[in-house]
């Protein structure tokens, strides 16, 4: 009874909590139009736009790194036969990038394989309460590559783009973990863990790999 009264009391008293003013519909619409036009106008660096703190030299260095990633991809894969070992597992993720040019597909496939291994380990450790002090650096590295891929032709495939965007979000959250105050750490971990589950990131990575295994080997070897 007291609980019911408390709930009624709470609902009545909390009604004023951060009471919103009238919605500034037209003003916000103008803001949306301007922002979309601005982002459209510089399509290539779109991913970086809302990260306004990044300086121009960072964009240049990222552009150069992107060229290197692609160059490495071409060098590694174009003149060789079948990739070996762990590459085989990673290669299978390229299904999602089927429509992208070949070198980018190879790079994307390898990258997604690494992301899957990293996120699986992260989730297991986070749920077991194991300290996550060494996760920031690999998360940042994977995040950089993810962003490079988002700006490469690999992301022209809708499914690949969606997967990379979700991977980017989760990795960005993990990369920021150590910078946060300790008080909110548990909440942050919960949020990241939920994001991985809600977006079915691991499942989608695994599905992409399984699908690719069927296409590449015709035997579902993975």
């Amino acid at each position: 009874m007291t609980e019911e009264r408390f709930q009624e009391f709470l609902r009545a008293e909390a009604r004023d909590y951060n009471e919103p003013p009238a919605t500034p519909t037209d003003e916000m619409w103008r803001g949306i139009e301007a922002e979309r036009a601005a982002r459209e106008g510089r399509r290539w660096p779109q991913r970086w736009h809302h990260r306004a703190v990044r300086s121009p030299w960072v964009r240049w260095s990222v552009g150069i790194a992107a060229a290197l990633v692609v160059g490495i991809g071409i060098g590694r894969f174009s003149g060789q036969g079948m990739p070996s070992g762990t590459q085989m597992a990673a290669d299978s993720a390229e299904q999602a990038a089927e429509s992208a040019p070949s070198p980018y597909r190879w790079v994307a496939a390898e990258h997604l394989g690494q992301v899957e291994i990293f996120l699986t380990g992260f989730q297991v450790d986070a749920r077991a309460g194991i300290p996550l002090q060494s996760t920031t650096a690999p998360a940042q590295q994977l995040l950089s590559t993810t962003r490079l891929l988002l700006d490469s032709p690999a992301s022209e495939d809708v499914q690949m783009r969606a997967l990379l965007e979700d991977v980017e979000l989760v990795l960005a959250q993990i990369a920021q973990l150590e910078g946060d105050e300790g008080e909110g750490e548990e909440e942050e971990l919960d949020l990241i863990d939920d994001n991985i589950d809600q977006r079915s990131v691991l499942l989608r990575l695994q599905t992409a790999m399984t699908a690719e295994a069927g296409v590449a080997g015709g035997q579902g070897a993975l």
Binding site: T2, R5, F6, Q7, E8, F9, L10, R11, E13, A14, R15, D16, Y17, N18, P20, P21, T23, P24, T25, E27, M28, W29, G31, I32, E35, R36, R39, H50, V158, A162, L169, Q173, D180, E181, G184, E187, E188, D190, L191, D194, Q198, R199
Partner: protein
Amino acid sequence: MEEQQLVARVRAGDARAERALYDEHVDRVYRLAYRMAGDDDLAREFAQETFIRVFDRIGQFRGEAALGTWIRSIATSVVLNGLRKVKRFRQREVGLEIARSAGGGQRQAEPDLKEKLGRAIDALPNKYRMVFVMHDVEGYTHQEISQQLGMQLGTSKAQLSRARARLRESLAEFAGEWAS
């Protein structure tokens, strides 16, 4: 205009359809953003970013949930992630509130309770606060909350229950207000 038709036109790049979609859903998005942010600039920023993402990702909307549910699931994600970045802002705001209440004259029961409740809600972890605000303040059902936050129905209920329990603890000195 039917929802499916509207979505199809937005996908085709019809500017009028985009505006119609925006007009239909902006109010609830902005209200929720404002309730969570407690600040007009932030609420606008969150609402605008929500619709930018909606138009950017409309191709991914498969119609499994209602369009409004899908839009608000993007909004909750934008708000929760955005709030993490402005934690300092909120702490400063709470600090100002405390300073203001300390400088005030004679205490009146009603404003004091409201202030205390406001601070107690602010102090909830953001995920609990989101569920509490959606359910007890904005009147969403657990079904809607679970869909929009991508959680089980039971999780939504459990988080609301934990939020209320924390608020009850924080407001213990006012127990007479609801016991009478």
